[in-house]
């Protein structure tokens, strides 16, 4: 259980930032949106969502405020800050670079060694 969380923590943070960058959301909404934009291929464990949200808020990438949900209930909405936007940018670039690098290693043919 621990190991999974570690691996996913960095990526989960990125996904949350991306989800929230598309518009302010409450916690459940973030879950739904990630599911939606991954075309239902990615499901986030519900229990790990809120710790991640609080951590991101603590670090200043997102801010929260109370608002009204679709069905007129009070809910806490999160949105991206300017710093968060920059962070998302940096993290995406890093991720892409890493993906390229790993892909390059995995593509190595025997004669290229």
């Amino acid at each position: 259980m621990d190991k999974q969380l570690e691996l996913l923590q960095g990526t989960l943070d990125m996904l949350i930032l991306k989800a929230v960058s598309l518009g302010p959301l409450h916690g459940y909404g973030v879950l739904l949106r990630i599911q939606q934009i991954s075309k239902d291929r990615l499901e986030i464990q519900q229990g790990s969502l809120y710790p991640a949200l609080y951590r991101l808020e603590h670090q200043g990438w997102i801010v929260s405020e109370w608002g009204e949900s679709e069905n007129k209930r009070k809910a806490k909405y999160y949105r991206l800050t300017a710093a968060g936007k920059r962070k998302l940018q940096t993290e995406s670039e890093k991720w892409n670079r890493m993906a390229d690098l790993i892909a390059g290693i995995l593509d190595t043919k025997p004669e290229e060694v």
């Binding site: 459940y28 464990q45 229990g47 809120y50 710790p51 603590h58 670090q59 209930r73 009070k74």
Partner: protein, 919 residues
């Protein structure tokens, strides 16, 4: 910006925690309900939807926990949680909590009290400028000088005690003059002497007694004591024509004069003589002697106005030693340098000329012991006992800590199940250790806090005891200063950490499955390592018992010393004797008439009702001081003069004191008022043996030290008596008819000596209405006062021994009690299988006795090595006294059996059916 946000989040989280909690609650609830609604929309019934939503979400508490952790308040939250939980757990086992806290409090309290006392008596420096530069000026030589007279004041520090040399702090006036002007080694030297009697200060017709010193003009400036009001003494006041001024101490100014600022410049009477108050010293300075505060200081040159003991003629007498001196070393001058330079100067002065005090081969030299803590009579008297007490109290603290550690250990093992559950719920070992440590720290802090209270109360009682039951009226202000407080708190925390650490570490290594199983602590342990695991608790008890033996043995020896001293044969009959002094100054009696006055009083008292016999003497017996002189047989060479004790006495002295007259006669009326030589002398048996051996002493002639005249003739021999102290061997003593000098009275009462006080007052009043009765006490009270240190040691060490005994008892009881609880199941099995109740009893008590015996043997072994440090303080009993050790061992064994009894009874009453089901 991130930092700001972080701070803000942390700030919010810490201070608005409650709100954050509700918000988090609401948020999570919203999430679950939103998810449930989605499920409902997809056709799941509401109840089912909610249930599924909750399950899918996972453990809400865990999420909350992680969320809180993400916020970064985990530490404080955790700490508060630990505290609350710890408090609850401690409340659940009140017996354990109370015993542990009390044990710690007693150990810490006793330590802090003694340590504070030691600090006050031994370690505090004088409140003056640069106290480390201050030194006392002493001389040392191979033998005593040949003086006309010498005065020894208390407080002269004796560091290198040596039987082959003599030293003293008293100098002649010419030598003082020489030192006073010395600027090579010192930046200032001052002299000081106390008045010869009590000084009475009268203000607005109200008289009370005060203590002060005559000091040279540069006293305050050399010490660096400033004036709080007015001005201090200066060298101009110390000249023969100066108008008389007095400086008061700050405390005296406050208590007697209500801090009246207009007092400066007013006149007060000292012994009836008007003095002007020139100023008040800075607060905190009460003179040079710890424990004996001074209320006033008068310039040296003005002393003759109120005290005629050292008249002006003494100032030119090089063979009269009476001045005390202290000096402030010049910066950069070391003590060795100063001693060398001054020794040369001193030796050349006192070994040459017609008034030479020493022969050169006696090697007189100067010593400069440090005086940063003032004069030492209090310290010298109490340093050894206080350190003995400190050792005892340190041992008690050890026992207390071992006790608490043992208790906590037992408790931790009993809580294994609880710990296992917490592990299963996901607590990290770090967390568990932290929680257990917090609990033990809480205990330690509570114990420390209570201990401080005990310390305060204990220190004050101790100081009062010290001050009130001694010969002098000492004033010991024991303050618990911040360093000691910090020390105590540090000790508490250390104890907390160490006694909690072992159980905590053990607790975190608990194996889950067996612990959670019904039979808890029993199963795994009984198969292996049971003895090993129990070893720690048992080892602690053995250590406690051994340490208690140490304390008990020491106490036993000290108590026996006191008993022996009290039972010593004094050589005279101390019962029913009343001692008192009279103050004749106000009657205007000159010294020459004193002799007549004393005889008059004695005659009248002898015939008063209720009085069997009356007399007087220069000093009373066993008062802690004595007079001595050098005597030799007249025809023998001068070098054969020997130091003997001397006591001038009035008529009927031997009869009053109950000293048997053996040979010859005692003094009769004709011997008094008669100053012809040779004077009659009565000697004691020790004197006769020392001087005359087997020969007849009657009629023999003796002379003082180095004189050629026939001074004394032996007319009688009386029995040996103790003179200066009970401990000392009886010294050769010479009794003389007392001339006109002040002394004390002794009267033997028919029944109760104290009942005679009104009679005495009446007799005195008949003679002269100005005669004042002072210092009335019985002879037995005086002897007891002299046993002050021994009483202190015996009382306190007994107290500590009792404490140690109680603590060891509790430790043993706790261990055995826990043992029974732990093995209830096993006991049930045994009894179900047919074991007798008595065998169960033997099981428990047997273990208790085994541990105790082990502790006793190791304790006695340790005691044999340690008690020899007490040797100097013992009397009539050897440090390794088998009788005492046996008694102490038996006592501890008896207590151990009693302590084992209750758990044993509990074990016996175990119902096998219940025990077999017991988890």
């Amino acid at each position: 910006m991130t930092l700001w946000n972080r701070l803000r989040s942390w700030f919010n989280a810490t201070l608005r925690r409650a709100r954050m909690e509700t918000e988090m609650d609401a948020e999570l609830r919203f999430h679950i309900e939103a998810y449930a609604e989605d499920l409902v929309r997809s056709g799941v019934p509401r109840e089912e939807a909610l249930r599924r939503a909750r399950i899918e979400f996972g453990g809400v508490e865990r999420v909350k926990e992680e969320a809180r952790e993400a916020r970064g308040v985990h530490l404080i939250d955790g700490l508060i949680q630990d505290l609350r939980y710890g408090l609850r757990m401690l409340r659940k086992s009140p017996g354990f909590t109370v015993v542990a806290v009390l044990t710690l409090a007693l150990g810490i309290g006793a330590n802090t009290a003694i340590f504070s006392l030691i600090n006050t008596v031994m370690l505090r420096t004088l409140p003056i400028r640069n106290p480390e530069q201050l030194v006392v000026i002493k001389w040392r030589a191979r033998q005593s000088p040949s003086t006309h007279n010498s005065y020894f004041w208390g407080g002269c520090p004796e560091q290198k005690f040596s039987s082959s040399s003599v030293s003293s702090c008293s100098f002649s006036y010419p030598v003082y003059d020489q030192f006073h002007g010395n600027r090579d080694a010192f930046s200032g030297v001052f002299g000081f002497i106390p008045p010869s009697g009590v000084t009475e200060i009268t203000v607005k017709a109200q008289t009370s007694q005060a203590r002060g010193d005559f000091v040279s003009g540069n006293f305050f400036s050399t010490l660096g004591v400033e004036a709080a009001v007015g001005r201090m003494l200066d060298p101009l006041d110390d000249t023969s024509g100066a108008s008389p001024v007095v400086v008061l101490s700050h405390g005296y100014w406050q208590s007697r004069f209500g801090s009246d600022p207009s007092l400066v410049g007013k006149t007060i009477l000292l012994n009836g003589i008007p003095f002007t108050v020139s100023g008040v010293a800075a607060p905190g300075f009460v003179g040079l002697e710890t424990g004996v505060p001074r209320q006033f200081w008068v310039a040296f040159a003005a002393r003759y106005r109120i005290d005629d003991r050292f008249p002006k003629e003494r100032e030119t007498d090089a063979k009269s030693e009476w001045m005390q001196m202290m000096g402030r070393l010049k910066p950069g001058v070391t003590v060795q340098q100063a001693e060398a330079a001054l020794s040369t100067m001193f030796a050349s002065t006192v070994t040459s000329g017609p008034d030479a005090l020493f022969k050169p081969e006696l090697q007189p030299q100067i010593e400069l012991p440090g005086a940063s803590r003032g004069l030492t009579s209090l310290r010298q008297e109490f340093s050894k006992p206080l350190f003995v007490l400190m050792t005892a109290v340190g041992l008690i603290l050890l026992i207390a800590c071992a006790n608490v550690a043992g208790l906590m250990l037992a408790r931790a093992v009993a809580r294994e199940k609880e710990l296992a559950v917490r592990f299963a719920l996901g607590a990290g070992p770090c967390r568990i250790v932290r929680q257990l440590l917090t609990e033990s720290l809480m205990l330690a802090v509570a114990g420390g806090g209570l201990g401080i209270l005990f310390a305060y109360w204990g220190a004050r009682s101790l100081a009062e005891f010290l001050a009130s039951s001694g010969e002098e009226a000492w004033e010991i202000n024991v303050n618990i200063d911040p360093r000691i407080l910090a020390f105590t708190i540090g000790i508490s925390c250390l104890v907390g950490i160490f006694s909690g650490l072992a159980p905590a570490l053990r607790g975190s290594g608990v194996d889950l499955i067996p612990a959670l199983k019904q039979r808890g602590s029993e199963s795994k342990r009984s198969t292996r390592g049971r003895e090993r695991r129990f070893g720690l608790g048992a080892a602690l008890v053995v250590a406690q018992v051994a340490t208690s033996i140490l304390v008990l043995a020491g106490a036993g020896l000290l108590v026996r010393t006191l008993v022996n001293l009290r039972g010593t044969n004094t050589g005279f009959d101390a019962r029913n004797i009343l001692l008192f002094d009279i103050d004749a100054r106000l009657t205007g009696n000159k010294r020459s008439k004193l002799g007549n006055l004393y005889r008059d009083v004695q005659r009248r008292l002898a015939s008063a009702p209720g009085v069997v016999s009356a007399s007087y003497s220069s000093t009373t017996l066993l008062s802690g001081s004595n007079m001595d002189t050098m005597l030799r047989i007249t025809d023998a060479p001068v070098e054969s003069a020997v130091s003997v004790d001397e006591l001038p006495v009035g008529p009927d002295f031997f009869q009053t004191m109950g000293i048997p007259a053996l040979i010859g006669r005692t003094f009769s009326a004709a011997d008094y008022g008669n100053s012809g030589k040779p004077q009659p002398m009565v000697i004691n048996q020790a004197f006769a043996r020392r001087f005359f051996g087997k020969q007849k002493p009657l009629g023999r002639l003796l002379s003082e030290g180095d004189t050629k005249t026939l001074d004394y003739e032996v007319v009688g021999i009386v029995g040996d008596t103790k003179y200066n102290s009970l401990r000392e061997e009886v010294a050769p003593t010479a009794y003389l008819p007392m001339g006109p000098q002040p002394g004390s009275f002794e009267i033997r009462a028919a029944v109760d000596p104290r009942a005679l006080i009104p009679t005495v007052r009446r007799v005195l009043a008949e003679l002269d209405s100005n005669l004042v009765l002072l210092n009335a006490k019985t002879q037995i009270e005086q002897i007891d006062q002299g046993l002050y240190q021994e009483r202190l040691l015996a009382n306190l060490s007994s107290l500590f021994a009792a404490l140690a005994l109680v603590l060891a008892c509790i430790g043993l009881y706790g261990l055995l009690s826990y043992e029974v609880t732990r093995r209830t199941h096993e006991i049930g099995v045994r009894m179900a299988l047919g074991a007798e109740q008595s065998s169960v009893l033997r099981l428990v008590v047997g273990k208790g006795i085994a541990l105790t015996l082990l502790g006793i043997t190791s304790g006695i072994a340790a005691a044999m090595g340690v008690t020899r440090y007490l040797e100097a303080m013992l009397y009539g009993v050897k440090p390794v006294d088998p009788g005492t050790f046996m008694c102490v061992a038996t006592l501890l064994l008896a207590v151990a059996v009693a302590a084992s009894y209750i758990p044993a009874r509990r074990a016996m009453r175990v119902d096998p059916m219940v025990a077999l089901r017991y988890e």
